[in-house]
């Protein structure tokens, strides 16, 4: 009886531990308000506009993630949904890594710690790549479900839903696709067709939208160099820091502890544990998972090292081949290396613990192994040392939204015409201008990026049209150019030390630091053609059918289990 109780507790222990780690890491992000950091912009009510559906003029960078959020926040408030997504991703990641590891409480707990508390998770949280983290969270479960499919020959009901959740953006869709193919592929045409259908349907929205934008789907070649995995993190040169899953291009997203001797300590620890695991713990890794884990690690590392070592080649690819820009931020592919890293750490720790003769020593060493990743990156705690503190939007935002609801229809432009802001109410932390999502109207946003003081070219032709229009010599000429571009309203934000070009028009409202200007009626905003709408409708139908099939099969499987 006692054994059974301990067995049940041991089964849930990694999930509970992952929850503790997730709460500790997110810290202030779980408080009242929204977490706004770099690319992570959540608003109270995201509208389901053309861009979210992949029908806008900009490249589909937030397809299908924005559409999913726009639908879900009709049921759950955006503020709560963001916390559920972040917490759920980390808990799922930790418990999934434990499940990959095989038997042994120590191994499972260490794997959970390494999979949650590592530079990849911290850096992606800091830079706000939440769809990547959601994909990362389901990655172990995709591997497990894929392995089950290969073992039983029956498609697990949960795999369809996992693929959808793991494909909320283009890059994470590729990661998930590699994982499911590595885990489930076998020499059978039927299996390959099944995999192609599943992966194709899960990624259909962004693939279809990307193909429709093929004309402008090439990216700045310079960006490939800038966004290449970093060649150094503190004392660690590449590719050594890739081994511990660090390597984001943006130095501002790297925690302080990664720049000192602690990062070296973490590297040594993980390499030693992996060496021990390969010698004495590999046989404890479930047989069906060994090859998929190795394949994922190899593919991830090859892509990361290639984009780091050959930025010019990546640049040429991004600059000439539509969709080649997907490989720009190559360090995102480190997600594929994480499952094997965590499993080897877990199995290595398990083997080390068994060396000690008495229970007390084993317990101490086990605790040390479980806590070491946290101790070696302590500034990841408490919302990355406060960087993820949730904030409330200013009242002026709500005022602008209410005003816009009563104004004539038409697209909006935000001034200053820049992609990012660093609002004081957000602690001066950089964030993609939240107004673009907050206003609930179609907003033409600047897609040029400034990195190291250098401007990287954007891809949206409409943004270029507005940029050119704002460069006109007089306020009247700017207003005329905006009207010709299908823009009706301009929301001017008063930002300290930033001058904006004056645009002629009627000021129809002032709300704190925001001023709304009506430039008058002009050309109709461009609308997608019938062919585009049809193509995207088919893509979304394929995506939705996978969701439907997955949910129905999941329900049937649960009923069947319940009946047994």
């Amino acid at each position: 009886m006692q054994d059974r109780t301990w067995g049940a507790a041991a089964r849930w222990l990694p999930t509970c531990w992952a929850l503790v780690l997730a709460v500790l890491m997110l810290g202030g992000a779980l408080g009242r308000g929204f977490v706004l950091t770099y690319d992570m912009v959540w608003v109270p009510d995201l509208s389901l506009g053309l861009d979210a559906l992949g029908l806008g003029t900009a490249l589909p960078r937030a397809v299908p993630s924005d559409a999913v959020v726009a639908v879900l926040d009709e049921v759950v408030p955006g503020e709560v949904l963001q916390k559920l997504v972040l917490l759920g991703a980390l808990v799922s990641a930790g418990s999934g890594a434990a499940a990959l590891c095989g038997r042994g409480t120590v191994a499972r707990l260490v794997a959970a710690t390494v999979f949650v508390w590592n530079p990849f998770v911290v850096e992606r949280l800091a830079i706000g790549h939440w769809p990547v983290l959601v994909g990362y969270g389901v990655l172990p479960w995709v591997l497990l479900a894929g392995a089950t499919w290969r073992r039983t020959g029956w498609l697990p009901a949960r795999l369809a839903v996992l693929l959808l959740v793991g494909s909320l953006s283009a890059t994470t869709g590729l990661v998930t696709a590699v994982a499911v193919v590595a885990a489930a592929a076998e020499r059978s045409r039927r299996r390959w067709v099944g995999l192609a259908v599943l992966v194709g349907a899960a990624n259909a929205p962004w693939v279809a939208s990307g193909l429709l934008h093929a004309g402008e789907a090439t990216s700045s070649a310079v960006g490939a160099d800038v966004f290449a995995p970093s060649s150094r993190e503190g004392l660690l040169p590449a590719p050594l820091h890739f081994l511990t899953l660090g390597g984001v291009w943006n130095a501002e997203s790297v925690p302080g502890s990664r720049t000192g001797v602690l990062a070296v300590g973490l590297t040594i620890l993980l390499v030693l544990l992996a060496a021990v695991a390969l010698r004495r713990g590999w046989s404890s890794v479930p047989v069906l998972l060994r090859t998929p884990l190795l394949v994922c690690w190899s593919v991830g590392m090859v892509l990361v090292v290639a984009t780091w070592a050959l930025p010019d080649a990546t640049g040429r690819l991004a600059g000439t081949v539509p969709g080649g820009g997907l490989l720009r931020d190559g360090a995102r592919m480190l997600a594929l290396a994480a499952p094997l890293t965590a499993v080897l750490a877990g199995r290595g720790a398990d083997a080390v613990v068994r060396v000690f003769p008495d229970t007390a020593s084993r317990t101490m060493v086990a605790l040390g192994c479980v806590l070491a990743p946290v101790a070696l990156m302590p500034d990841a705690a408490l919302g990355l040392s406060g960087r993820l503190a949730a904030v409330d939007y200013t009242a002026s935002y709500e005022g602008a939204v209410e005003a816009l609801a009563t104004l004539p229809p038409g697209d909006v432009v935000l001034l200053p015409f820049q992609s990012y802001r660093a609002p004081s109410w957000n602690g001066g932390r950089p964030v993609l201008d939240p107004l673009g999502r907050y206003l609930g109207r179609h907003v033409v946003v600047e897609d040029q990026l400034v990195v190291d003081g250098e401007t990287l070219a954007g891809e949206d032709p409409r943004a270029a049209e507005v940029r050119d229009g704002l460069a006109a010599p007089t306020p009247e000429a700017r207003a005329e150019a905006l009207r010709a571009a299908g823009v009706r309203l301009v929301v001017v934000e008063d930002v300290d030390r930033v001058e904006v070009p004056e645009v002629a028009g009627d000021t129809v409202g002032e709300y704190g630091e925001l001023r709304v200007v009506d430039v008058g009626p002009g050309a109709a905003p461009p609308q997608p053609t019938g062919a585009w709408v049809t193509a995207m409708a088919v893509a979304w139908a394929a995506w939705a059918s996978l969701l439907l099939v997955g949910m129905v099969r999941l329900r049937r499987a649960r009923r069947s289990n319940f009946a047994q």
Partner: protein
């Protein structure tokens, strides 16, 4: 022998964890601010900076 192993292991594990945590906290508290005077005065909002 076992009586000796446990306290030694405890001291080593506890010591390493404590030193590592302390070093991390110090490194974090003494690292350069995210916004340097150079970036604060810049009229462009930067998406980030590479490491070199």
């Amino acid at each position: 022998m076992n009586n000796l192993v446990t306290p030694v292991v405890s001291c080593v594990v506890g010591g390493v964890l404590a030193v590592a945590t302390l070093m991390g906290v110090i490194a974090n508290q003494t690292s350069a601010p995210e916004q340097s005077p150079g970036t604060i005065d810049s009229p462009e909002f930067s998406y980030g900076a590479t490491i070199e």
